[in-house]
Structures are given as C-alpha cells and as structure tokens.
Point group: C2
Chain length 342, copies 2
C-alpha cells in the first residue's frame, strides 16, 4: 500500500496524509485522528527507504562489533534498545568477521559514506584512534564508548576504570596483600591503559614496586584467567590476590586457585570487574565475588540517549560523561595470609 493509494482511499491528498502522520501542526485534529486510525486499519506504513532518501536521514545507528564477538556487546545493545524503543531508529550491526577481507577503517567508511547510518558508536577506542579521526573528517555524529586522546573533538561516555581499579587494588593492599596480580584487557586500548594506571598508582601510593610479571593483557576469556593465574600460583612467592578484568577471567582465576588446592577468599583474594550480566552474577559465585561494578546495559541506554542528543544538534565536545564505578565487597576478598605479609 502506497501513500498515493492510501490517500486516495481517504479522499485526501498525499500531502495531508503525510503531514497528519508525521504530526505537523497544519492539519486539523479531526483529520489527523481519522488518518491515524485508517492507517492502522488498512495497514499503511511509509516505505522507509523513500523516507530515508527524501529526508536524508538513515534512521539507524551503527555499531561495529569487535572481531572477537565480545560477550559484553549484546548487553550494551539491549541497553540501546531500551532507549530507542519507540523512536523508530534501528541498530545496524556490522560485525567484523574473523578473517575480514576489509579492514576496520573501510567498514566505518562504508557505513557512513553510503548513508546507512546517521550516527555511529565506537567501542574499545585507543588513545590514538584512527576511527575517531575518520568519523570526524566524514562529519558524521558519533559517540565513543570509552575514551581516547585523539585530538579531534568527540563525544564520549566512559566508566572510571582507573578509579575503579585503584580502589580495588588499594583495598587489597589494605588487607595486607603485597603481591597482587592483574589480568587486564587487550594491550593498547584506553580502558586497559587506565586500569594499568589505577593499579600502578595504588601500588606506588604504598611504595610497592611494580612487577611487570604480575600483569597480563589479553581478551577476556576464562582461558586467559586460568592460564595466567595458574602459572603465577606455581611460582614462589605466589601472588595472594588477583584483580580480574572481567567475569570470565575471574572464572578462570577461581579455577586456577582451586586447582592448586587453595581457597578463594582465604589463600587468594579476587576482585573482578563486573559489567552486570543477567546470566552470570558475581553475587552467586562461590565464594561470592567482590567486584567493581558498572552496568554495561545502563551504559548502552545512556549511549543511545546521547546519540539522540547528538542528532538533535548538541555539540559533540559538550558530551563527556564519566561514570563512577561501585566497589562491592563480598567473600572473595580477605586478609592476606599471615605468612605472605611483609
């Protein structure tokens, strides 16, 4: 059913119908009412591609999913959906295939210059991020989830990774731990760098030397957590505490600790960063997991909101949001074993 036909059936012109449906003021309330009702009854819906062409708006927000299919991604999207519900804006996901033939920059470039999306959300930025420079050059609105030091102005929403890890580490130090290992995210990402800094600052504050062998960078998999924790626990002196970058690495650490016959929360303390997943909760782990917590779903919702503001004309360099992170202490953290205290 096309506009022309629909309008004809109503005995109105396409113009009036279009106006009635888009809520323009110059159409009488009575007419608007009738049009709205009939549209539902006859099942008329504007062809989105015609609308897009004429308005120049794509009606979609783009998100490029990392090559590794991070498990956090869907939660973030659910959050976006919550905000976008009823807005008539789609989420266009361009996942990068494992062995992608195009490079990342090309994907962004295509997304924008072909007019597929009105705005883009950039995940896992680096301090110097080429994507940000590209999007700025292309003049498309975009929001960075995380932060970057790229010189061009850009809107961002980030959590206080540095503060979170500093507090987590400090807390462990308070408990008497001295050899604290950290499982960070992939090297080079801003959030990893911030976490590194939080960790090192906490140590420095107490005058404890930084030992690079206690830190590892990598993807958030249970395997990384297990292998790294396992190999450290075999050494002597072994670390008495771990800071894990994600729930998955924490699972790996728990396993490693157990497999050495040690007990989490007594022999080895663990704090992880928890993005709050419905399917895996820190509270429920045994022992329950102390965590720095920040809902990635809430971040998704807010991100969508900020993008809408961006599309509404709010300047990008005005949008900088840094969320504090909760530290929730549970059973996985306890005083350092006496023999390990210095």
């Amino acid at each position: 059913m096309k506009l022309k036909e629909f309008a004809h059936q109503l005995g109105l012109s396409p113009t009036t119908v279009s106006r009635a449906l888009s809520g323009y003021p110059e159409v009488s309330e009575k007419t608007r009412q009738r049009v709205a009702e009939e549209a539902v009854r006859l099942g008329y819906r504007p062809n989105i591609n015609a609308v897009r062409l004429v308005t120049g708006r794509a009606g979609a927000i783009g998100a490029v999913m990392g090559r590794k299919g991070e498990f956090q991604f869907s939660e973030f999207m659910i959050g976006m959906a919550e905000r976008l519900d009823g807005e008539d804006i789609d989420i266009l996901v361009s996942p990068m295939a494992e062995q992608e033939t195009r490079d990342e920059i090309q994907i962004y470039s295509r997304l924008v210059t072909s007019g597929r999306v009105d705005a883009i959300i950039v995940h896992s930025p680096r301090p110097d991020d080429e994507r940000i420079r590209l999007l700025h050059k292309l003049g498309v609105p975009f929001l960075v989830h995380g932060r970057s030091e790229t010189e061009v102005p850009h809107a961002w929403l980030d959590i206080d990774n540095e503060g979170a890890i500093r507090r987590a580490t400090s807390h462990l130090l308070d408990l008497g731990h001295r050899r604290i290992a950290m499982i960070n995210g992939g090297a080079g990402y801003t959030f990893s760098i911030h976490r590194d800094k939080g960790y090192r600052d906490a140590l420095e504050e107490r005058g404890i030397a930084f030992d690079p062998r206690l830190v590892v960078h990598g993807h958030f998999t249970d395997e990384l957590g297990f292998r790294f924790a396992r190999s450290l626990l075999e050494q002597s002196p072994r670390p008495t505490a771990f800071v894990a970058g994600s729930m998955m690495t924490a699972l790996g650490v728990y396993r490693a600790v157990r497999s050495r016959g040690l007990v989490v929360g007594r022999d080895t303390s663990v704090i992880a960063h928890d993005d709050v997943f419905p399917y895996l909760t820190a509270e429920n782990m045994v022992p329950s997991l102390s965590a720095t917590r920040s809902s990635i779903r809430a971040a998704g919702a807010r991100a969508a909101d900020l993008v809408l503001q961006l599309l509404g004309g709010r300047p990008a360099d005005e949008i900088h949001e840094l969320w504090p992170v909760e530290l929730i202490l549970r059973e996985s953290t306890g005083p350092a074993p006496a023999e390990a205290r210095s």
Copy 2:
C-alpha cells in the same frame, strides 16, 4: 558526491556510470575500468537509500534479539557476519527492550512492511509460532533458527536437540545413573520440547520412570543452574547426574555440587550443551565438562548462507537442515556412586 556530478566529471552519462559500477555487460571493459578507478579516487559511493528505493531491496537481514539478551546471540551474529562479509548486506538488529511497549509481532511487522529488511531470521521458535505465520502472510523470506510445527512452509536450520540429549542421558544411564536431573530452556520453545523428549525417551528405553521434579525450565543463567541443583542435592535420594542446557547453567550446577561438598565427576556427573564460545570453554573447566557440542557461530554462518539462497529464489520448503550434535566426554561424567545404583 552524487552520481550526476561524478558522471559529469568523467564525461559520461549517469546511466553508463551506474552500469559500469554494477557490472552490467553492456559497458566496455575499458570504460568500466576507468569508472572503477575514478570512483575510488574521487570517493564516489552510491547513496544506499536511493538504491534501496529504486531497486526495492533493503540490503539488510533482520534479527530480533530476545528480551533477555541471550549471550548466544552475538556468537550467532559473528557467524552471520563471516558469511555476509563482502556481500554488502547489513544485519539489522531489533532488540526487544526489557519492557517493550510494542509486542513482538509488531516488531516483526514493522521490520517488514516498512521495507527495512529483505529477510528475517527467527530465533527460538515455538511449535505453534505466530511470527512464522505472520512472516509467511507478509510474503517476506525468512529462516527459522530452530524448528516449528507451524503449518505454513518455512525454511529452517536446527540442531538435533532431541538426539543430543537422548545420547547424553543414555550415556549417563550407561554409567549407572538412575536419578538424572535436567535443566532445560524456557518452557514452550521447540528446542526445549525436543530436549525433554530426548531425555524422556532415553529413560523410557531403560524402563525408568520419569520424575517431573527432576526437570526444570527457565532461562540459561548460572542462577537457575545453581538454585535448582542446590535444592535437588539437598533432597534424599539426591540425583547423581545433571544434564544442563547451557554452559551458564552448568557453571551453576558445578557451584551447587561443590557447595554441598561433593565432587563433580565422582559424586555427581554433569553434561551440558555447549554452543562453543571463545570466552568460556568446556574443556577448561575443572573438572573439564562433558558436553553435547554444536557451534552456534557455524550455525550463524550457515543461516546467512541459506538466507542468501532464499533471496536468490530457492523455495523455502526446500530448506530444512538438521545438524547432528557431537557428544564429547570429559571428566565431569563418571560412574554413578555405588550406593546410588539400583
């Protein structure tokens, strides 16, 4: 840069340029070459929305993400991306918000009648699924990931849930287990029903009575696994084996077993269904987890492939694919404890 301007710069007509870029035969190789080169050099790219309007194709495949933000979803999408890489087809994700104002059917309806997508992938179907009937009525190509008994013809790709669980259960029976609990997916979904059937058939084969108290339905969360396993393990006689519907529920079961001072693989056997995630592997669990395995990422890739075939004109009722599921035995399964044997 628009087609008209671009063509003018080349001294050609828009027609010729368009044809050259879309690979039509009636343009000389020399011209085509030149056009292609200049397009790259000048950065011309057709406005996708104009193309969509005139061709009537949306250039996107839709997927509606469940309300719960299932963690399997992103893996499936990565698989799709792998196949779609280079096809110039997007993935449009419509996640349902937690408290969605529209109902599910409306989402599908909007997606299709407004011309946002060329095809749709339906997840988690039910035996009698209204969405399938709707999509058939609307005449849009769609592929069901899973199966349904809905009377209208439809393309589907599914794994052999029934066979997988039957074999898993049979194997546990072979090991002497008699009280075998099962954590299934949400009630009402076809895959849950198939799994139930596989479970019951295996029992029946040995003449073992089905005990409904040993089965639970619900979302795949660690919490469900933990609570259910925990409460069963408190009873007497307690089950000696668990069949878990997912890796997450398996984690919960492991915890429950441990928290009762029991040992997985010795006192309590566990088999789970493993969709193969990069961030959480059955092999790495301690003890390593016996599992029925089928890569959901591979399914995503194949699904995309089948959708392309559908779009290419292959009839839907010709596309029915049932994938076998591997059963991989590891350390979490062992003989039933002697005292529990009947």
